[in-house]
Amino acid sequence: MNDSKSPTRCAGAPRDRANGRRVMLWSIGWATTMLLASAAISFDQFGDGTVAFIAAGVSLIFGAGTVGAYRQFLNETDELRQKVELEALAVAFGFGVVGGMAYAQISRALGLGDPRLAIVIAGMLIVHAIGVAVGMRRYA
C-alpha cells in the first residue's frame, strides 16, 4: 500500500455524505410541498380542485425524487451500511404493517374515529431512524 494514499481516498464517506445531503434536500422539498398541498386542498375545497390537484402532483414529484435519492444512497453506500439500512427498513416495515393494523383496530374499538395515516408514517420514520442508530452502534 502506498503511504501517499491518505484515508481521504476512501470514496465511501464523502459519497455517502453527498448522497445523504441529496436525500435530505428531497425530503425537505417533499415535506414542504406536502404541507402546501394539504393547505391547497383545504382552501380549494369549494373550487374545481385544479389548484389542489397541481399541488398534490408537485408533492408526488418531490416524493418520487426522495425515493430515487434514497435508492441511490442505498446502492452506492458501503455494504455494512446497506446491511444496517436493510435491518432498519425491515423493522420499520414491520412496525408499519403490524403497528398500523393494531392502531387502526384500537382506534375503531375505542371509538376514536378513523386512524390517521400520518401517525403511522411518522412512527415508521422514527423506528427506521432508531434502527439505523442501533445498527451503527452494534457494528461500531
Binding site: 500500500m1 484515508p7 481516498r9 465511501g12 455494504e79 455494512l80 457494528y139 461500531a140
Partner: protein, 65 residues
C-alpha cells in the same frame, strides 16, 4: 467465518482507516470485519485478498471446516 484481516493489517503496519481507504469502505466496516461481526460480500472478499496478494481462502476460513 473467521478471517486473518487484523493480523495481515498489523503485519503491514496499516491503520484501519488506511485499509478502509484502500478497500473503499468505511473504517467501521473494517472494524466489523476484523471483529467477526460482519462477513463481506464475495466481491469485497476478493478485493481484500487481492490487496494482500493472497488467495481468498488464505484470508477467510469457514468456521465449520
Amino acid at each position: 467465518m473467521k478471517n486473518r484481516l487484523k493480523v495481515l493489517r498489523a503485519e503491514r503496519d496499516w491503520t484501519q482507516a488506511q485499509l478502509a481507504a484502500e478497500l473503499e469502505v468505511s473504517r467501521q466496516t473494517v472494524n466489523a470485519l476484523e471483529t467477526g461481526k460482519f462477513d463481506p460480500s464475495l466481491p469485497l472478499a476478493f478485493r481484500i485478498a487481492r490487496l494482500f496478494q493472497m488467495r481468498v481462502e488464505e484470508v477467510f476460513q469457514d468456521e465449520e471446516l
